[in-house]
Assembly symmetry: D2
Homo-oligomer: 279 residues x 4
């Protein structure tokens, strides 16, 4: 631990470089503050109606931010690839009408201008954590970036990927743990909360957790969401879909709005026990 | 999930086979009840004085059970292998004088009688989770067994290892998640709390978590201990040593009695938030 | 590499401790010599007739040793557990009548005398590589031991497991690489030939490879068998069953005697290219 | 296996879709033919003199193609990032003067025109295997692409990444196995030759192996190179540097020109045993 703490201490992400914990504010929603940020929404943006319904319901349940994918990184070229720019426009429109900041994934550095125009936070997915060209370009914009940990990335590599963005001049980075690959087959990924806790210990950046991708199993979202908060992280990103069984992607891990609403109530006492608020 | 739930439903470990959650009582200490069980003590039993001091302090801080290894599974034949029978006797003596039930590891089926004579719970370590000969023999005794998950065992293999003990006639099995191997180098293991949560969901057995071996990093024991409780598990097993820097094994991950005492106070609000008690 | 080579250099398994490469002879079959050892036979001993048929055919194809499991480490307590002592007797009988040395797995230290009585080599399976009690007892017998690498064991742990046997006084150890766990789902394990090559580089012990368990896929046995020889190892252990589709275990990875015979012919030029002989 | 073979059979990479094995010719050098392709050169292009010296020597030893990185994907933003366009120009110049086709890595889709102008084959590194935007754009060019397997990618994901390129209209894809992440610490990666063998079995694409990155250990390059050929692959990509101890990246795994020359002679009999030629 001493060796690694020393290694990190020389980086821009470290508390040594920036003793005050970073708080990132987007449209009145603060990430890294006393109040936890709960980001909810569908995996992919499918239709305006569905997104509107989801946004309305998750906002009602207390979510502070809306998520939705327009560019989708799919393993197969024959799977639904997202609505692209139309999806971005829909997301921005719904976010504005609901008064919720929005976050969406950026896959191609060419798309940075258009995504930055429509989204409040740009998300780098696990598959692009090692896309250094993209990271360098995100270091030159003035928008917050949420950096997911790569699926087999070590904590060191994850922090160094964040360092690419900070070294470029963009200090608004949010780290997101979303599970790593293991030999386990009953969960989609192995959610590594110790990585999230270690990132909180060593860096000044906000850290949030994705229990939806992190487990891939609907019934595990609630226990892992509570565990993430108890581990000291700053928020959650959760997939919610009105009809998970019909979702174009990741239906197996999506909560219904009702399940999400129930979860929000269950999170409250745990957050309070940690001296935090859910809303 | 449906396929795996169905698979488990045919096993003796399942809620289908045993709808009531199993509670295991040893000398007044209940595992699997409303009160969480906190097991604490040194990795290895070194001297009677050290064990006594540790026991006195962890009991004072609220620990319900004492741990200590007499037979130690060490990677190198040249490392300290534990005190053996002398260690067992010391553990039993201190446990009795402190009025704390004791748990220790069983490595060799030949030693079952002597370990069962001195310990209240027999622990099967991660390295022996797939030692089916040992599991079969533990299925024939009338003592509780704590079964640690193997370091690369899938959840299915872990539950099937427990099934070996239940199928032999011994229903007093406690599951223990202690981290799995991954490519991560900053932690010793990757603590998989989703496995613990899934074991709680699918089986009637008590599930406890080992954040000491599960992370191998002292500063991560507290956040992971809280996370484990928030994930719904029934207790913790934590390494405590009065002088971690001089410990004969695993000093890097041991808490001092003072750190343990502080942790116990931090666990309380999280436990309460989950409707549980720490003491 | 320098650090690890130095670490190994202090061990009994190292070339520094024993500059001459170890050759182990059993009934005229030499392991670690110019001639590669090819061990073949069924995963489990099922009936005397089947074993006899298999032995007859693999011997005809050039196999030097017969394998067959009597005590089977099965993930589920409800799977076929092997014929036990009856299986051992059958194996010894067929081995003798065919004039082939035999190898079988030892799972329980209690069974060492009976297994040592019937088998020429005792195999420690991957699941017991970290069963240190068993290793210590095998260090005190005068029979060769084949030590499989654990499914998530590092090379260092594997060599240290061998060290347990050597430190006990038994220098007749054969290392066997049989694949490690990974996230890959199209193969049962990931055969790590670099581990085998490194073991050959650093130790004086014979190293053989198990392409059957190492891949779990019949069509991959031949390419991996050839690759293992080209990597410089001393032999192969291959599952052969007259009717793989009816095998009580591991049918998916078993070759038919005909496929085995074809493989033996394909191995010949590769062995010759390496300055070795197959028979 | 049957399920996966069926899955692959519906893909453009499959032998069902393209029964004839694909051969890719660049400047007289055929990949996928009877003659193995041996690609050699430094990890990174450092100076024209060094590259010229290396090219001259590896060509003399029998290498058919020259490698060298101009854009380097480095874990830390503070490590040497490559010479960029200057490096590309140097590579093209030396390749032309030595009459060797050249291969180099493409990291940013923006750079496709300039890289395609200077290189004969564009390499997608392990860190970008899941950069679907890049893959889609490479599907629209008329240059061969060598696709390295991601560090924790399954074989299925690797083939689907290739499918992205083929689906875009570019059939000139070479697969390259370069090792996957595991818990092993004595090697940098775990070279998975069974993945390479399976790719040969299921697809019509040429498959080559990178024993340099695949092991990260100089002494393992030779045994793994031989093993790769015996496993039936179509060639090798090997790091060679005149002064590995001074290399700006990956010195630990680079061969000297002399070691490379020795290796080429050792490969010859293995290649011949497989009915292939090294030169």
């Amino acid at each position: 631990m001493n060796a690694l703490a020393e290694k990190v201490s020389k980086m821009l992400v470290s508390k040594e470089a920036h003793p005050q914990m970073t708080e990132i504010e987007v449209k009145g929603c603060v990430i890294g503050g006393k109040q936890l940020v709960i980001i909810a929404g569908p995996c992919a943006i499918e239709t305006e109606e569905l997104l509107k319904e989801t946004a309305f319901k998750v906002r009602g349940a207390g979510a502070g931010m809306l998520r939705g994918g327009a560019f989708k990184p799919r393993t197969s070229p024959y799977s639904f690839q997202g609505l692209g720019v139309v999806g971005l426009e829909t997301l921005a429109k719904i976010g504005e009408s609901m008064n919720m900041p929005v976050i969406t994934e950026i896959m191609d550095s060419e798309d940075i201008p258009i995504v930055a125009e429509h989204a409040d936070i740009l998300q780098v997915g696990a598959r692009n954590m090692h896309n250094f060209s993209l990271l360098k370009k995100l270091g030159r914009i003035d928008k917050p970036v949420m950096l997911k940990r790569g699926m087999s990335a070590t904590i060191e590599e994850w922090l160094l990927a964040a360092e690419y963005i900070l070294a470029g001049g963009n200090g608004q980075v949010i780290l997101c743990e979303r599970g790593i690959r293991s030999a386990e087959r009953w969960t989609r990924n192995t959610l590594d909360l110790s990585a999230a806790a270690l990132a909180k210990e060593l860096t000044h950046l906000p850290v949030i957790v994705d229990p939806s991708h992190g487990t891939g199993v609907r019934s595990l979202v609630a226990p892992m969401a509570k565990a993430a908060i108890a581990a000291g992280t700053d928020g959650l990103i959760i997939e919610v879909h009105p009809h998970p069984e019909k979702a174009l992607s990741d239906g197996e891990q999506s909560l219904t709005p009702k399940q999400f609403s129930l979860l929000m109530r269950e999170l409250e006492p745990v957050a309070n026990a940690m001296g935090r608020r859910v809303r």
